[in-house]
């Protein structure tokens, strides 16, 4: 059962574009009515946008006044930088993402989230609350890979968490409103209400698993759960179990074996290794081993070095030596 704080849930599981709280489908507008939905979410297109109006076109009943949490996955596309044909000026390209419109006013944007390109191939989000009363941007994030956005509005703060890491708000302007009129809102996806320009274009990225709570939730464990396990594990009481996968690697033979202990009981020498193996050796053999640093030392034991050196080892045959 969906939790009561949940006010909107779009998981794009089918082309019907079901919003699961109101149990209504979004409408498709634009030249292309073919909705591209896959396991990876909804693919935004440059000739299409979506509109959700809730039950009986009364807007989604979000019941938001001074707190809100919105989360979603986004696969951003960086379409470069726009150049003004007349002035030659360069500009970031603004691309619409979500626009929540007050149905009472007809066109007043209560919350507008847009994406913007950077010259270095990254993108950033801009959050516009109450038609410019307060505007702030995220830090830049890489394009062409999935990101998870968790945005929290409360009466005094705005927080943007990307991939689990809190971003420092950029280019902040205005004062954050102590409340917003978020009782019943329409939702536009990939549609700019103010039209398009040389530096405003459609979004062609992927978006998935959009949810809205009418509380301010910055619980790190909830963010972790949504990212790692899925949004349902936080917003649906029926999702009570999740899989744990733990992997361990057993390596091959030890690369280094060290001697931990050595005992000479006058009969044998016992050597304890760090891998648990105990070796037994003859003390006689150990004690008579000799290292010869030069020929003179070999001659000292009565051997002729010319005939008895072989590959730096001493080779003995048919002779006797002093021990």
């Amino acid at each position: 059962m969906l939790i009561s704080d949940l006010k909107l849930l779009l998981r794009f599981n089918s082309t019907s574009l079901l919003e699961e709280v109101s149990q209504t489908n979004m409408f498709v507008y634009g030249d292309d009515s073919n909705v591209l939905v896959s396991n990876s979410g909804y693919l935004m297109q440059d000739d299409q946008y979506l509109l959700g109006e809730g039950v009986s076109s009364n807007g989604y009943n979000l019941n938001i006044t001074n707190a809100m949490t919105i989360g979603f996955w986004l696969y951003p596309v960086n379409s470069g930088i726009a150049i003004n044909e007349i002035t030659g000026a360069t500009s970031s390209i603004e691309k619409p993402l979500f626009d929540f419109i007050d149905i009472g006013s007809g066109s007043n944007s209560v919350l507008k989230i847009t994406e913007h390109t950077s010259e270095n191939g990254n993108n950033y989000l801009k959050i516009n609350i109450d038609r410019g009363t307060y505007i702030a941007s995220s830090e830049e994030y890489a394009s062409a890979q999935w990101h998870y956005f968790w945005i929290v509005y409360s009466a005094s703060t705005l927080s943007i968490v990307v991939d689990g890491i809190a971003h420092v708000l950029q280019n902040v302007s205005g004062s954050i409103p102590s409340s917003i009129n978020g009782s019943n809102l329409d939702l536009y996806i990939n549609h700019n209400m103010d039209g398009y320009a040389w530096n405003i274009a459609k979004n062609t990225g992927l978006v998935d698993d959009i949810f809205i709570l009418n509380i301010a939730n910055l619980n790190e464990q909830d963010i972790q759960t949504v990212i790692n396990d899925g949004v349902k594990f936080v917003v649906d009481d029926n999702f009570t179990t999740t899989d744990i996968n733990k992997q361990s690697i057993y390596f091959n033979d030890p690369e280094t074996i060290t001697i931990g202990s050595l005992i000479d009981d006058m009969n044998y020498i016992f050597v304890g290794r760090n891998d648990g193996k105990i070796m037994r050796g003859s003390p006689l053999l150990w004690e008579v081993r000799r290292v010869f640093s030069n020929s003179d030392e070999i001659e000292d034991v009565g051997l002729d070095p010319v005939y008895y050196q072989e590959n730096r080892f001493l080779k003995i045959f048919n002779t006797t030596i002093r021990l």
């Binding site: 744990i244 733990k246 057993y250």
Partner: protein
């Protein structure tokens, strides 16, 4: 939330096992198979540096040579670890990339000394490790601490053509028990709540530990259990100095696994409590069979319960090169949130 961890096994209960290759059955030791610590800060989906808390041992020595770490479901390849600042070589080495938050458990996913170069005449060696549900209600107040639908299998067997690793699972005869004595003395504990519930000697060789009073923390190996009276008899006596007129909370730990004399002797497989040896994979995990051959799933593991994991490593005769002889073990289970 249920948490499972691997432990080495040892000859005696409630001991540390410092020699990995001596993990050849018996009791669960107090030593992890893998060193572990916790995250000191949150890491996002694409973070390439990781901050680790200093291990409880205070030293990073046992982390030397570690190439992989496990956080949550994610396996991460890292640069050599010399302190708490770790550089990522590859996130999601097992195909899973997750977000991790401060205090999440980090495990070094490499056990370099579990096996050694000592094999029997069949070119085999055996090791036994214990998998325990360590969840405790006092630490984790969240609802259910059981691990559901447990399966254990090799995600990747040895990459060396000259080596194969198989596994078998062993169920303890008894699992964890926590109760209150009806009466006790230096050699026995009587608990009438157990009368008729368990068979005679159901708890034989298990380790019983006192949880409160003067003898708190003291433990004995159970020599026998009498079902008719609910009496545990120990293999050796507690101190005569304790006040035996005051009843005590006690806990009985899961019974030990088979203990082999050396790592080259095969334990017994394919019994009611021990599965056959199998080179498992994701689609071929182990199951128990009862005396009439019926399949028994591994099922669930409650807090403090244990399952033993036997590993058989076999090499080709005359092989001198053991490169790429590692294997990846996977545990999969469900947890209630």
């Amino acid at each position: 939330m249920a948490t499972l961890k691997f432990y080495l096994t040892s000859l005696e209960p409630d001991m540390s096992q410092t020699v990995y290759s001596q993990s050849i059955g018996g009791y669960i030791s107090n030593s992890f198979v893998y060193p572990e610590t916790t995250l000191s800060s949150t890491i996002g989906l694409y973070s390439s540096s990781i901050s680790l808390d200093t291990p409880s041992s205070g030293s990073w020595a046992e982390w030397q040579g570690i190439e992989y770490i496990n956080i949550g479901n994610e396996l991460i390849k890292v640069s050599p670890i010399v302190n708490g600042s770790v550089s990522v070589v590859q996130r999601g080495y097992n195909g899973i990339v997750n977000m991790h938050i401060s205090n999440d458990v980090v495990t070094a996913a490499s056990s370099k000394e579990l096996f050694n170069d000592v094999f029997n005449s069949d070119h085999k060696q055996y090791r036994c490790i214990a998998l325990k549900n360590i969840s405790q209600i006092s630490i984790d107040p969240s609802g259910t601490l059981m691990a559901y639908d447990l399966s254990v299998y090799f995600k990747q067997n040895s990459r060396s053509l000259n080596s194969t690793i198989k596994m078998a699972l062993e169920k303890p005869e008894n699992q964890y028990l926590n109760s209150l004595s009806t009466s006790w003395n230096s050699m026995q504990i009587l608990d009438t709540s157990l009368i008729g519930i368990y068979d005679d000697d159901h708890f034989k060789n298990s380790y019983l530990k006192i949880r409160g009073g003067e003898a708190s923390g003291q433990g004995k190996i159970i020599n026998s259990f009498d079902s008719e009276t609910g009496t545990f008899t120990f293999s050796s006596s507690f101190s005569s100095l304790y006040d035996y007129s005051i009843n005590v909370n006690y806990e009985v730990f899961p019974s030990p696994a088979q203990r082999i004399k050396t790592g080259t002797i095969s334990p017994t497989f394919s019994t009611n409590n021990v599965t056959p040896l199998l080179a498992t994979n994701e689609n071929l995990s182990l199951k128990f069979f009862d005396s009439v051959g019926s399949t028994i799933e591994l099922g669930d593991l409650n807090p403090n319960e244990i399952i033993y994991l036997w590993l058989e490593r076999e090499i080709e005769k005359g092989v001198s090169n053991f490169d790429n002889n590692d294997c990846v073990l996977n545990i999969k289970y469900k947890v209630a949130k």
